[in-house]
C-alpha cells in the first residue's frame, strides 16, 4: 500500500506539470496575452504599456516566463519598475513555493484573495454536501429495498428531473418563488433573502445565517441528491442480491439487521469513493449559486477575474483545483482499498 501511494504521488507530478504547462501556454497564446487586461484602454501610451510588460516580466521569452511562474525569479535580475534598467534580484518565489503572484487588477497577492474567499465557499459547499447526504441516502436505501414500488418509481422520476434541470434556471425559479412571491406570514417580508451570506449591519445569529443559506443550498442540493440517490440505489441493489445477504437471511437474521447491518455497510463503500471525487467542489464551489445569490466565494472570484482577464487569479484557482482533484482521486482509491478488503493494489 505504501509503495502504491508513493507511486501514485510520483505519477501525479508529471500530470500536474502537464496541466500547468497547458494552462500557462493557453493564457499566453491568448491574443494580447496577459496584457489584454490593460490593452483595452487605448489611451495608455505605448511606453507605459512597455513599462508594465517589463515590470511583470512579460518581455521575457515564454519558457523563461513559465520557469519564473513555476519556481520564482529570486535567482535572476529583474526590472521591477519597468524603466529598462535592472533593479536587482526578483522577489517572486513561484507557485511551487506557494507564490501565485499578484492580481493584475488589485495588485493584492492572489493567495490572499483566495484565502479571503475560500472559507465562504467551503461553508456553502459543506452544508450543500451535508444535506445532500442527509436527503439522498435514505431515498437511495428505500428505493433499493422497495424496488419498483410507488416510492421507488416516484424517486426515480424525480431523480431524472433533478438531473435534467439546469442549476442556474432552478436558481432563478427559487428566487421567483421564495423571494418574489412567498412572504413570511409574520413579518410580511420575503420568505427568504435573495442573496448575501447574512443581513448586513446585524449581529451574528445562527438563524440569520441559516436563513441566507437556505436557497443557495437548495439550488445546489437538487442535482446532487438526484445523482447520489440513484447511485446509492444501484449500489444497494447490487449488494442485496449477493450470496452473503442470502446467507444472513438463511441464518434467521431479522430483515432489519440484514439490511442495515450487513447490506448498507457495503453499499456505502462506493458512495465514499464518490464523495472523495466530489470533494474538490469544497474548493471551487458552485459558480452559479455564488453568482445568483451574490455569495462572495471562489466561484465569483474566478468569474470576476475571467471577465477582467486577471490571469494570475485564473491560473492559481485552476492549478490548485487540479491539484486537489488529483489528491482527492488518490484519497478515493486509498479509502476504497481500506473499506473493501477485496481490493488490493500492487
Amino acid at each position: 500500500m505504501g509503495t502504491y501511494i508513493i507511486r501514485r504521488l510520483l505519477q501525479a507530478i508529471p500530470m500536474l506539470l502537464l496541466v500547468s504547462i497547458v494552462l500557462f501556454a493557453l493564457v499566453n497564446i491568448a491574443p494580447g496575452g496577459p496584457m489584454s487586461a490593460y490593452s483595452r484602454s487605448n489611451r495608455m501610451p505605448e511606453e507605459k504599456k512597455e513599462a508594465i510588460r517589463r515590470s511583470f516580466g512579460l518581455d521575457k521569452p515564454l519558457p523563461v516566463q513559465y520557469i519564473v511562474w513555476l519556481i520564482g525569479n529570486d535567482w535572476m535580475e529583474v526590472d521591477e519598475d519597468g524603466d529598462g534598467v535592472m533593479d536587482g534580484y526578483g522577489s517572486r518565489r513561484g507557485i511551487l513555493r506557494g507564490d501565485f503572484g499578484f492580481s493584475y487588477k488589485s495588485r493584492e497577492p492572489v493567495l490572499d484573495l483566495i484565502a479571503d474567499r475560500l472559507p465562504n465557499t467551503a461553508y456553502l459547499m459543506f452544508f450543500t454536501l451535508l444535506f445532500t447526504g442527509i436527503v439522498a441516502v435514505p431515498i437511495g436505501i428505500v428505493s433499493a429495498i422497495k424496488q419498483y414500488s410507488t416510492f421507488d418509481i416516484t424517486a426515480t422520476t424525480l431523480s431524472f428531473m433533478g438531473q435534467a434541470i439546469p442549476e442556474f434556471w432552478l436558481g432563478l425559479l427559487l428566487i421567483l418563488i421564495f423571494y418574489a412571491t412567498l412572504n413570511n406570514p409574520f413579518t410580511g417580508e420575503s420568505l427568504f433573502p435573495s442573496g448575501g451570506m447574512y443581513t448586513l449591519g446585524e449581529d451574528f445569529s445562527i438563524l440569520d445565517r441559516a436563513h441566507h443559506l437556505f436557497l443557495p443550498v437548495l439550488m445546489g442540493l437538487v442535482g446532487w441528491v438526484a445523482w447520489y440517490s440513484r447511485f446509492l440505489r444501484s449500489s444497494m441493489l447490487e449488494v442485496i442480491n449477493q450470496d452473503y445477504i442470502r446467507t444472513a437471511r438463511a441464518k434467521g437474521q431479522t430483515e432489519r439487521k440484514v439490511l442495515y447491518r450487513h447490506a448498507l455497510k457495503n453499499a456505502l463503500i462506493p458512495l465514499v469513493t464518490m464523495f472523495a471525487l466530489d470533494f474538490p467542489f469544497i474548493f471551487t464551489g458552485s459558480l452559479y449559486a455564488e453568482l445568483l445569490f451574490s455569495w462572495p466565494g471562489m466561484g465569483r472570484l474566478f468569474y470576476t477575474a475571467a471577465t477582467g482577464r486577471d490571469y494570475p487569479i485564473l491560473l492559481a484557482i485552476l492549478i490548485i483545483g487540479a491539484g486537489i482533484v488529483v489528491i482527492s482521486n488518490l484519497f478515493a482509491d486509498i479509502a476504497y482499498a481500506y473499506l473493501d478488503p477485496r481490493v488490493r493494489y500492487d
Binding site: M15, V19, M161, A164, A180, A306, A322
Partner: protein
C-alpha cells in the same frame, strides 16, 4: 412475440414435457434492441418530445417574427395569443427566439459529440490495443484533462478562443463553443473505448484474427471496436445532453453564444436583470433546456437497456 408463436411453444410443451426450450424465429440484434427500446416508457415519451422539439426548431422560419430584429413598441409584452412566450426588452418574440435557440443548442450538442467521438474513439482504441507505454502516456493525458475544474476551464478557454483568429473557430460562433466543450468531453469516451479493448483484446477470436494476419487497423476497427458500439451510442446520446447543458451554462454566464444570436442560455442571462418584473423571460428558455435534457437522458437510459447484450439475449417477453 405474437400469439401464434406462443401457441407453437405451448403445443410443443404439451406434446412432450421433456422439451423445455422455446422456439423463436431468428431475429437480428437491432430488432431485438428496438423491441426492448419500445418497452421503455420514458424512452418512448422522450423520443416523441425530442422529435417534436427538433421539428419545431427545423420549422422555426415559419414564425411571422424575426428572432433578431427589435420592435421597441412591443417590449416586455406578457405572454398572449400573438406572443405565446411574451416579448423581451427589445420587443422580440420570445417563442421565435426560443425556437431559433433550439437550433443553436442542438447543433452545439451534435458538434460536440462529433468532436468527442473523433478524438475519443481513436485515442481510446490506440491506448487499449497497444497497451504499454503508449497506454500509460495517453491515460496520464486523460487524467490531467479530467483533473482540471471543468466549468472554470471552459470559461477561460472560451474567453481566450473567442478573441483568437484561428480557422473554423473564428469569433463567437457555434463552432467555437463546440470546440471549447469538445476539448474537455473526449476523455470519457476514450476511457470507455479503452475499457472495451482491454476486455476483448485477449479473447480467442481476436487471437484467431491476429493469427490470420489481420492488420492492426483492421483489428481495431473491424474486430474489436464493434463490441463497443452499444456503450458508445449510449454515451454519445447522453453526451448531447451534457453539451447542451454546458453550452446553456456558458451562455448564461456570458461566455458562450453572444447576443443577438439567441441561445437558451443567453436568453436566461438576459432575463436575470428583470427577473422580478418580467418572470416569463426566464421561464420558457429554461423549460426548453429542461425538456430537451430530460428527453435525451430518458432516451439514453432506454438505449442502455436496449443495447445491453446480456439483456438482448435474455428473455424478450
Amino acid at each position: 412475440m405474437t400469439n401464434s408463436e406462443n401457441q407453437q411453444t405451448m403445443n410443443i410443451n404439451e406434446e412432450n414435457n421433456e422439451i423445455k426450450f422455446q422456439i423463436r424465429p431468428p431475429e437480428t440484434m437491432t430488432s431485438l434492441a428496438w423491441k426492448r427500446f419500445r418497452r421503455h416508457p420514458g424512452a418512448m415519451v422522450g423520443s416523441v418530445v425530442l422529435i417534436l422539439l427538433i421539428l419545431a426548431a427545423v420549422f422555426a422560419d415559419l414564425s411571422p417574427y424575426d428572432p433578431e430584429i427589435s420592435d421597441i413598441a412591443n417590449r416586455y409584452q406578457a405572454p398572449s395569443i400573438e406572443h405565446p412566450f411574451g416579448t423581451d426588452g427589445l420587443g422580440r418574440d420570445l417563442l421565435t427566439r426560443t425556437l431559433f435557440g433550439s437550433r443553436v443548442s442542438m447543433s452545439v450538442g451534435l458538434m460536440v459529440v462529433a468532436i468527442t467521438l473523433s478524438i475519443g474513439v481513436p485515442i481510446g482504441s490506440i491506448a487499449g490495443y497497444y497497451g504499454g507505454w503508449i497506454d500509460n502516456i495517453l491515460m496520464r493525458i486523460i487524467d490531467a484533462t479530467l483533473a482540471i475544474p471543468s466549468l472554470m476551464f471552459l470559461i477561460l478557454l472560451s474567453a481566450i478562443l473567442r478573441e483568437a483568429d484561428l480557422p473554423f473557430v473564428r469569433g463567437n460562433s457555434v463552432m467555437t463553443i463546440a470546440v471549447v466543450l469538445g476539448v474537455l468531453s473526449w476523455p470519457t469516451v476514450a476511457r470507455l473505448v479503452r475499457a472495451v479493448f482491454l476486455t476483448v483484446r485477449e479473447m480467442e477470436y481476436v487471437k484467431a484474427a491476429q493469427a490470420l494476419g489481420a492488420s492492426d487497423v483492421r483489428m481495431m476497427l473491424q474486430e474489436i471496436l464493434p463490441n463497443g458500439f452499444g456503450p458508445i451510442i449510449v454515451e454519445s446520446t447522453l453526451g448531447i445532453g451534457y453539451a447542451i447543458m454546458e453550452e446553456s451554462g456558458l451562455s448564461f454566464l456570458g461566455f458562450g453564444i453572444m447576443p443577438p444570436t439567441p441561445s437558451w442560455g443567453n436568453m436566461l442571462n438576459n432575463a436575470q436583470s428583470h427577473l422580478l418584473q418580467y418572470p416569463w423571460l426566464a421561464f420558457f428558455p429554461g423549460l426548453m433546456i429542461f425538456l430537451t435534457i430530460i428527453s435525451v437522458n430518458y432516451i439514453g437510459d432506454g438505449l442502455r437497456d436496449a443495447l445491453d447484450p446480456y439483456k438482448i439475449l435474455g428473455k424478450v417477453e
